[in-house]
Symmetry: C2
Subunit: 251 residues, 2 copies
């Protein structure tokens, strides 16, 4: 049998408003384009529409920067109001140099600007924040999809992160529901009898990246279906993807 | 139109021997399973079979560890012969603590054990090394695929790397030919008129990760076809993915 995977972008979701029922929008759009959800699908949703539905969009005009934010903004050449928002979203500054502000968010994600982002948000001076609890957001969407379609699916909320050592960004999972974010090969034997000792694949991140290839950044495809991937169903979340600080060699 | 991507694993390539014509093996296997290569395909090949074809497999029995390797091995609880090989493959040690040896390879990749790996290699005590020049390896395969099929394809050589801050491994591109490893949105305008300032997507890494979802680690699927992705054709290589040390905040 030929192992095969399909990634199907979901078009026609339209502009997502605060309070929107994302699960319903996804189901309706998938049905309209003739690709209804099926058991075993992984539905990848971009952070941006989840944040919009949850009202996690703010106007920088309403932000009063603290002295600390002003000082940091000056040093980095950034908007002090943006820096203020980033600091509020963060528990720790990891790097602040050469115009780059990398922080650890309250969720534990290490990323530029705590995931605060001005792209693909309506209105000048508006920025989107990461969902407060992206794993809970993913679980809410997953339940709604199941309720509406009866299909057992997993849900991943994706965002675009940079990384050390390598140029360019990739999409990773910031929220996961209905699957383990990993496939664990530790203790399994390869075809040559070698027992794998260290390989745990972060498949939720690979799924998020794979979906990005279909969604792109400019084409209003805020969700997609990955069909044919044998994930490990059951409880699982993106918090498991956060390496505990005490195990991390690079903080 | 529904944006869609297919990822097709190539089965039946069989055990790859030193000197093997990988391009020919891939074309034959893809044809046998009824999924011949097409214009615009991205062919992702795992590092392991490329290294085998190039004879980049060595027996640790033949390795004489230096005093430096012995000292480091003792400290990390590793095989001194493995550490010796890792040091030979590296231009710099990035971290050596808690049983983990992260180095910068001669290519500039920062990864555990310089990519030296005992899994999926025949023979006890044998390890595979990264190809000497994975971009050249990718280009050799790409030309051969074009020669045999007439199809204009891109080739990515993938390997499994860890990363800071996040648990689990993902596959990334260590060799690229026939495409840019990036899609660059800098200066483009989102649907709301916001000019994107920083987003360059490392699509070669996302493609490598996507292909891993089909190939897995234990099932002898050392190559796959990603079909339907609009890459930017032309020259491009994985060296472009290596962030120059002077631009890197984490070395």
């Amino acid at each position: 049998m030929v192992p095969e995977l399909h990634i199907i972008g979901i078009t026609g979701i339209g502009e997502v408003q605060e309070g929107a029922d994302l699960g319903q929008l996804i189901v309706a759009a998938a049905n309209r384009q003739g690709t209804p959800l099926q058991d075993g699908d992984v539905v990848v949703v971009t952070q941006k529409v989840v944040s919009k539905a949850e009202g996690r969009v703010i106007s920088l005009q309403d932000v009063q920067p603290s002295p600390q934010a002003q000082e940091l903004a000056e040093r980095l050449g950034k908007d002090p109001r943006l820096v203020e928002v980033v600091l509020r979203e963060s528990r720790r500054v990891v790097r602040a140099e050469r115009g780059v502000l990398i922080t650890e968010t309250h969720h534990g994600f290490v990323c530029a600007n705590a995931g605060v982002d001005a792209s693909n948000v309506a209105g000048e001076g508006y920025v989107s924040l990461l969902p407060r609890d992206p794993d809970a957001s993913a679980e809410t969407i997953r339940r709604r999809l199941e309720e509406l379609t009866g299909a057992q699916v997993a849900v991943i909320i994706s965002d675009t992160f940079g990384r050390p050592w390598r140029e360019g960004h990739t999409n990773v999972a910031v929220g996961v529901a209905g699957m383990s974010p990993f496939i664990d090969y530790v203790g399994q034997t390869d075809p040559y009898g070698y027992v794998l000792r260290v390989t745990t694949m972060a498949v939720a991140d690979e799924l998020a990246g794979a979906a990005e290839l279909v969604m792109g950044k400019l084409s209003r495809v805020p969700a997609s279906i990955v069909r044919g991937f044998q994930f490990q169903p059951g409880p699982g979340n993106a918090s498991q993807l956060v390496r505990p600080a005490e195990k991390d060699l690079f903080r």
